[in-house]
């Protein structure tokens, strides 16, 4: 009888504790098969619902720092004969949700299967990199590489998803017997074990995907594991349950703790409800049908306004991983003159544009690496004109032009103390160092209908330039025309476009390396600086991350001076959630949805 009462109490307790959070997404998950998920089936929705359940050897924390995930420490790249090797020590405390321990077998199985079956898909391409993957012992794996492509090895190969070998082995064996093994394997719609306590439950196509707790807290290896962010930028992982510990080398965590994130799961169920339309999802958020809209493009300013006044809803804004920039065609005079570019850059008052003109709808950004990407951002680089008033900016620009030998028919007179009208006499008839008049410079920007932000700010920039006599002529035009002229015809003076970027500044090569000249590559300005090229190569083939980081820091400094691009601003990623759930943090580069780990960290607030 006692037992029965206890059981009853337990059941009631379980019911009371059974918590559920609901997220809105905009499309079905099209596959539950991990091999497909990372191949043709790689949609952002599939990732949002599933990718966090898989381990990888290395990972990144919210600030973009390289941290061990399934590894016990960050390994080193070592030269052995004509090969480069990485020996990874794995954590010994991890368990799959089916109870099997996570071992070197899982790692070796995953990498060899991808290569053997030639599983297609960009997200598997890192697994093709190693020549060989070898199990040294139960918790040690050794990778062999032909080339020392440090960045790719650490940020791609070693971040490849690892699957549960004891679940998949028989299936893969069976696949190998089929006529088309890959096709067969990819068509298997199964829900495999993950490394997390949560896993996919019921899926109703077109309606929802349910994620439920499948490992009890006491049996879950990661329950209670803490990720600790220190004020000084240091980072530590502590698992009180298994005793696992790791801390960052540079910087070493000391001093005050900034943020401590404990691993859950704190909810039993997460339902990803599918909405066909953002407006309807917003209505659902208001009605409380869902607690958060998972959406990689975020909300528009208008939608954010609509939600801001609502009860129990919190709207957060984060910088996007991306930037809007003005490119110079450095093949042509006067854009070929460094001081000219600097003069224009000096005129661009980002704070004024973002806060006054765009009324805070954009975030000022001056470098191709957003400051929030702390590991790679060089805070020492100063932007031209930073902190100056408009008058001082005019003065700086004029002096830069003068320095390069530019002359005017009527030289501009600037009074930097006058905040309202610093330009006393506008410049007229700008002449180059050779005495010839500077030809009209065409400045291409997308029009009002496509992007009002760029169109509006471009008008200010045109006016500022004109005030000191730079013959800048803004042309608001079709987006496609700009793309064609910049990337295919390479026939432009200046244009104003944007990029979406990743956390790791591998994009430096494609934007600025002299081997990536447009139209073959993306280096539209025609920037060719051997010093810069060398830094990029150094970055990619660095011996260690300090070296890579240094190279990128230096590259940022050079870019800030050479200015093939003027980076102007970035868009905020606006998201909204109901205050009855709590994320471990909501200030993160690229927005909440950019951090895949949160399902196990999210809490329900009573």
């Amino acid at each position: 009888m006692k037992k029965l009462v206890l059981l009853g109490l337990l059941l009631v307790g379980a019911f009371l504790l059974a918590t559920q959070v609901n997220y809105g997404i905009f499309a079905d998950i099209t596959t539950t098969n991990v091999w497909n998920l990372l191949g043709a089936g790689s949609t952002s929705w599939n990732f949002a619902v599933q990718i966090w359940k898989y381990p990888s050897i290395l990972g990144m924390n919210k600030d973009g720092m390289l941290i061990p995930a399934a590894a016990a420490e960050i390994p080193k790249l070592v030269k052995e004969g004509n090969m480069w090797t990485v020996t990874v020590k794995l954590r010994k405390d991890m368990r799959w949700s089916n109870g099997a321990p996570f071992t070197a077998d899982d790692v070796v199985f995953t990498y060899t299967t991808v290569k053997e079956l030639e599983i297609p898909g960009g997200n598997w391409s890192g697994a093709y990199e190693p020549e060989k993957v070898e199990k040294i012992d139960q918790w040690t794996v050794k990778f062999y590489f032909k080339e020392k492509r440090t960045i790719r090895i650490f940020y791609d190969t070693l971040m490849t998803t690892i699957v549960c070998s004891n679940y998949w082995k028989p299936i893969v064996e069976k696949a190998k017997k089929q006529k088309d093994p890959v096709k067969w394997l990819l068509a298997q719609e199964v829900i495999d074990p993950g490394i997390a306590a949560l896993n996919l439950g019921k899926i109703e196509k077109g309606a929802f995907a349910q994620v439920t707790k499948q490992v009890s807290d006491d049996k879950y290896w990661a329950f209670g594991e803490k990720s600790i962010y220190y004020k000084n930028g240091g980072f530590a992982i502590v698992n009180p349950k298994t005793g696992f510990k790791w801390q960052s080398d540079n910087p070493k965590p000391t001093g005050a703790v900034d943020l401590e994130v404990a691993n859950g799961p704190f909810v039993n169920t997460i339902v990803y409800k599918i909405y066909g339309n953002k407006q309807v999802a917003i209505q659902a958020l208001i009605a409380g049908d869902i607690d958060y809209i998972y959406n990689p493009v975020g909300l528009t300013a208008g939608e954010a306004e609509q939600l801001r006044g609502q009860k129990d809803i919190k709207v957060v804004s984060n910088p996007q991983l991306g930037f809007r920039y003005i490119a110079f065609n450095m093949r042509k005079f006067p854009m070929s003159v460094k001081e000219f570019r600097q003069a224009i850059a000096a005129l661009v008052d980002r704070d004024f544009l973002c806060n006054q003109v765009l009324k805070g709808r954009a975030i000022p950004l001056a470098t191709p690496v957003p400051p929030a990407n702390t590991f790679w951002y060089n805070s020492a680089v100063k932007t031209i004109g930073e902190g100056l008033s408009m008058g001082e900016r005019y003065q700086l620009a004029v002096s830069l032009l003068k320095k390069a030998g530019f002359k005017w028919d009527v030289e501009p007179v600037i009074d930097p103390k006058d905040t309202k009208n610093p330009v006393k006499t506008p410049g007229k008839g700008l002449r180059g160092p050779d005495g010839k008049p500077v030809p009209e410079i065409e400045f291409l920007s997308p029009g009002m209908d496509y992007d009002p932000m760029r169109a509006q700010t471009a008008m200010y920039i045109e006016q500022w330039a004109k005030n000191i006599g730079i013959p800048l002529k803004l042309k608001l035009t079709d987006f496609n025309e700009i793309v064609t002229r910049a990337f295919e015809e390479v026939n432009f003076d200046m244009y104003y476009l944007g990029w979406g970027i990743g956390r790791i500044p591998t994009y430096f090569r494609s934007f600025f390396h002299s081997a990536e000249m447009a139209p073959e590559g993306n280096n539209t300005p025609g920037y060719a600086n051997p010093e810069f090229d060398a830094l990029i190569d150094e970055f990619e083939f660095a011996d260690n991350f300090e070296q890579a980081r240094k190279a990128i820091f230096e590259a940022q400094r050079i870019l800030a001076e050479d200015l093939p691009y003027i980076v102007v601003f970035t868009n905020p990623m606006i998201e909204a959630y109901r205050t009855n759930i709590k994320f471990p943090y909501d200030t993160v580069l690229g927005g909440i949805n950019n951090y895949y780990g949160f399902p196990e960290n999210v809490k329900k607030v009573q």
């Binding site: 559920q20 598997w124 093709y128 599918i274």
Partner: protein
């Protein structure tokens, strides 16, 4: 096919019956030529003799009976149906071909976009592997042959965006939902539009007429997404009468031992069953004389059907789940009915106004018939004809035209699928959706023609 009974039936009995009947019926020698062709096609398909079929043996199974009936001197409706079927098969081939070439001519597709992924381009091995997998490098005629063959084998290929799912699987999943929603709303809006249209036309010029016409035009011209959003806000967010969107409440379905699809298909069948009962009611009513008897017959069949349906759902254990779906159905149906009844109503009103001018209406009045009889039996019955055609044809087009509804109510059906497939440049899926919609349109036209022939004695083909 190894079962001797089946072999006997399909290879022996069935053709033999056909031959005997054809010889018994046939008169001129040329009739036997059709019989011979038909038999050749049939056996060609049966024995899988690949020189005797064009795209696929299944296509032969469609062609053989049609050609067989060309061996007879049919007349009237049966001749019309046979000719129409032949035309539809021809149109189908043309349509499927046209769809193929449209997509062939369209620049780029999912694969090229997919292959643009820098991570894939970095790795030539993966790149080649992908290209081979998607069959990108085949010449167009090989693609075309494969396309036609696959279509008639009902193998519509593999979706790019939901790789490696088969297109027919996706369509099989989405079609019932779309049909269910649009059948329900179309029939309701048709009935509402028919009834209101006939009433306001009868009392033309009055306040009701003006109001109804005004309201109808408002609904007819309203910006659909906006209207639907208002409905959602009003009924789901503010009044909380109906669920906001989607077709099921997730929490209720966590422990369901079956998929929503299973319930959906049963619901669709129930709906069709009700529709058939209603039509039977109408046919029976057509044989009865008095209005009261007619009404009793129709209601009798409808209510009888409803009782059978209720018993079925009460017995099969899915009832509560079905109710959940029906509850979700309410809001989109309200939206669609309010939007579409207006069109039907205005069409009905206009045809009624035309019909009212006809002399036989004056005759009916002069005969001393009561007003209601004249309106319902004489005017509305004739005015029904054009409405019926627009209804049946509209039924087919709603399948593809439901993009907005399906988007707003998160009702993942054919419209949304076609939209997503097109925007994602998922050619096989888009082709599949289009082809299916095309087949539906063609079938709807056939149904409309046959219905028309039944409803309008003047039409004899």
């Amino acid at each position: 096919m190894t079962n001797p009974v089946l072999i006997f039936v399909f290879a022996g009995l069935l053709p033999a019956v056909g031959v005997v009947y054809a010889i018994y019926k046939g008169k001129a020698p040329q009739n036997y030529i059709f019989l011979a062709i038909s038999l050749a096609l049939y056996y060609g398909a049966l024995t899988n003799f690949r020189y005797l079929y064009l795209f696929s043996p299944r296509f032969n199974y469609i062609l053989a009976p049609i050609i067989y009936f060309y061996g007879f001197n049919l007349s009237g409706l049966s001749k019309f149906i046979r000719n129409r079927l032949a035309q539809i098969v021809l149109l189908l081939v043309i349509y499927v071909t046209v769809v193929f070439f449209i997509f062939l001519a369209m620049p780029g597709d999912y694969t090229t976009k997919f292959l643009q992924d820098p991570k894939i381009r970095q790795n030539p091995e993966v790149y080649e592997r992908m290209k081979q997998l998607f069959g990108v490098d085949d010449p167009w005629y090989v693609k075309y042959y494969k396309h036609m063959k696959n279509f008639f084998n009902l193998e519509l290929g593999i979706s790019f965006s939901e790789y490696p799912k088969r297109v027919e699987e996706i369509i099989a999943e989405r079609l019932p939902r779309t049909l269910f929603l649009f059948l329900a709303s179309s029939v309701l809006s048709f009935l509402l539009g028919f009834d209101l249209g006939k009433r306001i036309a009868w009392k033309r010029g009055g306040l009701t007429d003006k109001m109804a016409t005004f309201v109808g035009i408002v609904f007819w011209t309203i910006f659909t997404p906006f209207y639907m959003l208002i409905l959602i806000w009003l009924f789901a967010v503010t009044l909380r009468l109906f669920p906001l969107s989607g077709f099921i409440t997730p929490t209720k379905w966590f422990d369901a031992p079956f998929s929503a699809q299973a319930v959906f298909i049963r619901l669709l069948l129930t709906e069709l069953f009700m529709l058939v009962m209603w039509i039977i009611g109408i046919v029976v009513a057509g044989r009865l004389k008095t209005i009261r008897a007619k009404r009793t017959a129709i209601w009798g069949f409808v209510i009888g059907g409803a009782i059978i349906a209720f018993v079925y759902w009460a017995a099969n254990g899915m009832g509560t789940y079905a109710l959940d779906i029906v509850h979700h159905l309410a809001l989109p149906v309200i939206a669609l009915v309010t939007l579409h009844f207006a069109g039907d109503m205005l069409v009905m009103r206009d045809t009624m106004l035309e019909v009212i001018k006809e002399d036989y209406i004056t005759t009916a009045r002069a005969k001393g018939l009561p007003d209601k009889v004249i309106r319902d039996k004489h005017a509305a019955r004739t005015a029904l004809l054009p409405l019926m055609t627009s209804f049946v044809i509209g039924l087919a087009s709603t399948v593809s035209g439901g993009v907005i509804t399906e988007t707003m109510f998160s009702w993942k059906g054919m419209g949304l699928t076609l939209l997503e497939a097109t925007t994602a440049q998922d050619t096989p899926l888009a082709i599949g959706c289009l082809v299916f919609t095309g087949v539906l349109v063609l079938l709807a036209h056939l149904v409309a023609d046959i219905l028309y022939a039944f409803l309008d004695p003047r039409i004899r083909y």
